[in-house]
Amino acid sequence: MNFADLFVLAQRGLLRRPVRTFLTVLGIVVAVASMVIFLSLGEGFRRALGAEIGNVGPDLQVTLAGNESSSVFGSPIPDVPLENAARFESVASELGIKQVIPYILTARGSFSGQGYLIGGYPFERVPLSDIYPNLKLLEGRLFTPADSLGNVAVVGAAAAKNASLKLGSALRLNRDVSFKVVGILKKGDGFTDSFIFVPFNALAKGIGIANRATGIAIKLNDAGDARKVATALNARFTDLNAKTQGDVLSILDKAIAIGDAFRFGISLISLIVGGLAVANTVMMGVYERTREFGVIRAIGAKPSFVFSLVVLESMLLALIGGAGGVLVGYLGSFVVNFAVRDLVSVSIAAVTPRLILLAVGVAAVLGLFAGLLPARTASRLVITQALGRN
């Protein structure tokens, strides 16, 4: 029997009990959809971070070596001595370093949707457009060299909304220090929407940090030399750790992968439940059709044919459920992005081709395993017993 005929038999077998089949498929849809939504978070983070890192001008990020608690962008408390900037400047021509940019990053707000990041950069030396080339001004102005110690801020669109800032508003950093908003950026599709940019020196003074930075960003004459320069810097300055954009992405990817594993673990529970539902449905179908399987075997079907038929039924159930799950998961990811758009200002959930492949693959494996026991039972039926003889 060819596959098309086998497929028709399997499909008819499932349609014998349409309501039971529908409910089983629904179970798989829910299980796969939850997996897709959970894992789409990791995919969205990867995509957003990849785009963000790629948009940032600096080719290397330097933080203190051996500080495992540091994030990839640096410690929460600025701890990189500023004199390191001078050390890098001293080898700039030798290693092809174009710009050395110390920065301070500090977070404000909470998970309530009112959060933003404050980034302090030496705008008197490096224009904002050099560091984040894709940012566009909506209203007001950007920084000028005269702003070096001025308490002025240029605000991302989401940050402006979250902190209720308008042109001319005051952003209070603490009891004594506030910044005046002189520019508001156009809404983009990145983390920088949640950024508030201020001059480095003004921020350092405002939070009481002297001669320290969260990290040092380095722009190279040739971005293709990033790996070579990072290796040279790490060999020369063993107290520091220079990371390329690739390193940063790799570290972030590792963190996201751990999150993925955790989320997959949670979805695995619903997947197992869905798989058991498939196994139950297929097994009930086998019991109900014992006589028919006996007839098919009696007229000349091999045990392997019956086995294939039952496994195909199981896989059809799981794959239809899997396809439905991907669709519902895809719609779910839109809901997630809609719900958190003000909080993080990027699409944190993304249903990527590899996630779709994973979901369909998981559904297929689920169907295969769920069908094995019923298929074994069906293929081992004793013909005389199945026919109701003796």
């Binding site: 029997m1 060819n2 005929d5 038999l9 008819r12 077998g13 349609l15 014998r16 006589r291 028919e292 006996g294 007839v295 098919i296 075997r297 009696a298 007229i299 000349g300 079907a301 091999k302 045990p303 392997s304 044919f305 004793v382 013909i383 005389t384 026919l387 109701g388 003889r389 003796n390």
Partner: protein, 227 residues
């Protein structure tokens, strides 16, 4: 007449609690090619057990069954399935059609298992259904057919692969006398003028048995007479 099917000293013993039940007791039979053999006997005499062993649905506790000199008893299950498909046709007492398939698809099933091309098997199925008087009922599923119609679909299915031996359990049970007689002709192939098929049937209908070339009477798992 040459012998097409032979049962040599076959016995079938079933466990029953701590005891055993002997369904067939050292029975030997020969079936000639192209002849109709009717197996008759009271309920529980071992008729169905004999049919199961002859058709290869079950294995005798002792003895051997051969078809054209090939031992069915010694064949592995996979080989036996292909052998049944190629050489045997079956009509079950309660028709046993596949409920999810329509009449034509039921008749096509053994051809499909034998990997006969779609066009060829469709033509064959339609032709057989027309011959059993169901040419206009080919798209009906078993639950849309009467008992007699289902029985005729089962007969068409048994003939689909043009087997050399047909095993039938009460093949004319739900048919009127005239139709039953025609069906027997169809089953044996005598009406086609082609090489006659061997028909082994179980029946309680003595009119049907009377049309057989040979009657085998079974009682308590042994031959009674007429062998």
């Amino acid at each position: 007449m040459s012998t097409i099917l032979q049962a040599s000293d076959i016995s079938k013993v079933y466990p029953s609690g701590e005891d055993t039940v002997t369904a067939l007791n050292h029975l030997s039979l020969e079936f000639d090619a192209g002849r109709i053999t009717a197996i008759v006997g009271p309920s529980g005499s071992g008729k169905s057990t004999l049919l199961n062993l002859l058709a290869g649905f079950d294995v005798p506790s002792s003895g051997n069954v051969t078809h054209n000199g090939n031992s069915i008893t010694a064949m592995p299950e996979t080989t036996l399935a292909s052998y049944r498909l190629a050489h045997f046709g079956f009509i079950f007492q309660n028709y046993n059609l596949v409920s999810i398939l329509n009449a034509q698809e039921n008749v096509e099933l053994p051809l499909s298992l034998a990997s006969v091309p779609r066009l060829e098997r469709t033509k064959r199925a339609k032709e057989l259904l027309a011959r059993v008087g169901l040419g206009k009922r080919i798209t009906h599923r078993p639950n849309q057919l009467s008992g007699g119609e289902q029985q005729r679909v089962a007969i068409a299915r048994a003939l689909a692969t043009n087997p050399s031996v047909i095993f039938a359990d009460e093949p004319t049970g739900n048919l009127d006398s005239a139709t039953g007689s025609g069906i027997l002709e169809l089953l044996t192939g005598r009406s086609e003028g082609s090489e006659a098929r061997t028909l082994i049937l179980i029946t309680h209908d003595m009119e049907v048995a009377a049309r057989a070339d040979k009657i085998v009477k079974i009682r308590d798992g042994r031959l009674d007479s007429g062998a």
